[in-house]
Symmetry: C2
Subunit: 139 residues, 2 copies
């Protein structure tokens, strides 16, 4: 590879490693990847429509419906028709949902720390800062 592998190749491999490490964490809490992403978005701020939520997390609106069904059945999110416009569903975390999200997030942070364990604390900070700067999803 001459000097270094392609950036996309390295990023894709690392993403896969991370996701593989996090899968058991998610499973142990009984939540799917998209379920966790939904919880994260709603932990950030409640949403007025499912379409807005889907857009916020970069998913298709049809793709998150099953996850919303599941999260709602388990009492992790509330999803009630807006009285002012009964087509839209107001979405927000329940107390249980917020608690679960925080628990999963803490466990995931621990996995991230494991992946970055070889870096000095200065390198770690710099790496994360650069990623945030490049990240189009950081609002």
């Amino acid at each position: 590879m001459a000097d270094r592998p392609d950036l996309a190749a390295m990023m894709a491999r690392l993403t896969r490693v991370l996701m593989n490490a996090e899968r058991p964490v998610l499973e142990s809490h009984g939540v799917s990847m998209w379920g966790y992403v939904v919880l994260s978005a709603l932990a950030d701020e409640p949403m007025r429509t499912q379409a807005a939520l889907a857009r916020a997390i970069g998913a298709d609106k049809t793709r998150i419906i099953a996850d919303l069904d599941d999260l709602q059945e388990r009492g992790l999110i509330e999803r009630e028709p807006d009285p002012a416009d009964r087509r839209v569903r107001l979405l927000r975390l329940t107390a249980a949902g917020r608690k679960l999200h925080q628990a999963v997030r803490t466990a995931i942070r621990a996995e991230e720390e494991r992946l970055l364990a070889g870096l000095t604390s200065a390198q770690k900070q710099l790496f994360l800062r650069i990623l945030q700067d490049l990240d189009p999803g950081t609002r």
Copy 2:
């Protein structure tokens, strides 16, 4: 997201952005993503079996066959039975294949530069270095 988005979320988003930016580059050279990955691996070193190549690039052996067919038909790789064991196929780039790989790689490096344009040269170097250190694919 409290302090920062999850690492996996940032990595996945960035990977997607990169791949979207690179897709037109690959298309303009008439090569698929896996085709380019194959060319990259063979540019690194010839392979004695397709299974070894598949393993090297993290793909299933059945998944790369169509790409190998295509690359061979276009004279970009050689793929001849080993006289010593006619079950295995010896794989290597042709001169044309090496030339195409270098052209695509150069174009992809340009896209990478665009993504990283906001960073100082020191940040850029550090970022790439850290990625290489974390990358399990760096042999």
